[in-house]
Symmetry: C2
Subunit: 152 residues, 2 copies
């Protein structure tokens, strides 16, 4: 299963994505996240003080409803250059273990800002993609890909 | 009711926001939107061909569930400068009338790109804020404001 080269470039180069969660009543919530992609899943860290993480709405929502969506896009005043990748995913909160440690390593490789931050005691959220929707303004097209296995 | 000067500046200067909707099953969806704010409500246009608008997931979700959220933020590699404004709102789709026409005018004033586009036959979505949450990384703070009346 392969993404188009432009979709793959956008995922690899983007510094920020926007994550939408919803609580059990269906009220959406959305925030910017710094993320990393290992070819299979996406990961983001919680860099709040550990005591405060239980209060975070994004984590409460994921605990209530693991179905999330996030979008990766860059804005350009030349609207012929607009495009986005929308990813529907299942979110899972991890607090320790192999996946947790590997994700912190990847995040620190991508974002030097994380190297000085104590992320080890904080949750990492893994986002397992279920479906990608790639849209571009010119040529105006939308492609939808259901995920099975690795993405290249 | 007033927003802080920095929150107000961010709303006025931002070219893009990210809108989260959810369908009746609670599955979130998120896309970038170009928006305008008239001091009371936010508006965005649908610039798809009119025949195709009924297929758009953002509009289907709003019809099923008018509770939405959107976030306005700008990314900076200096993470001391990060901040966002998260707005919880009620969405309403309009197809004609005074509000519809006024929103198109405001959108065209802000985005020259819309001046050459035939938006008149397309829906405009009005987003009526219920609550603002403003977050900044330094000083690290979160403020929450419930909306009554105009915002300055």
């Amino acid at each position: 299963m392969r993404l188009t080269p432009s979709a793959s470039r956008l995922i690899r180069s983007a510094r920020v994505a926007h994550l939408a969660t919803a609580d059990s009543s269906g009220q959406p919530h959305v925030i910017p996240i710094c993320f990393v992609f290992d070819g299979k899943s996406f990961y983001f860290a919680i860099d709040e003080k550990p005591k405060r993480t239980t209060k975070l709405k994004r984590l409460k929502n994921i605990a209530e409803n693991p179905n999330v969506a996030f979008v990766i896009d860059t804005y350009d005043e030349d609207w012929r250059k607009l495009g986005y990748i929308l990813v529907f995913a299942t979110a899972r909160i991890t607090n320790a273990g192999k996946t947790h440690g590997a994700a912190i390593k990847l995040l620190r490789r991508k974002y030097h800002q994380y190297r000085a931050m104590a992320l080890e005691k904080n949750p990492i959220v893994a986002l397992q993609p279920k479906r990608f929707v790639a849209w571009s303004s010119e040529p105006r097209q939308k492609t939808s890909v259901d995920i099975k296995g690795h993405i290249r």
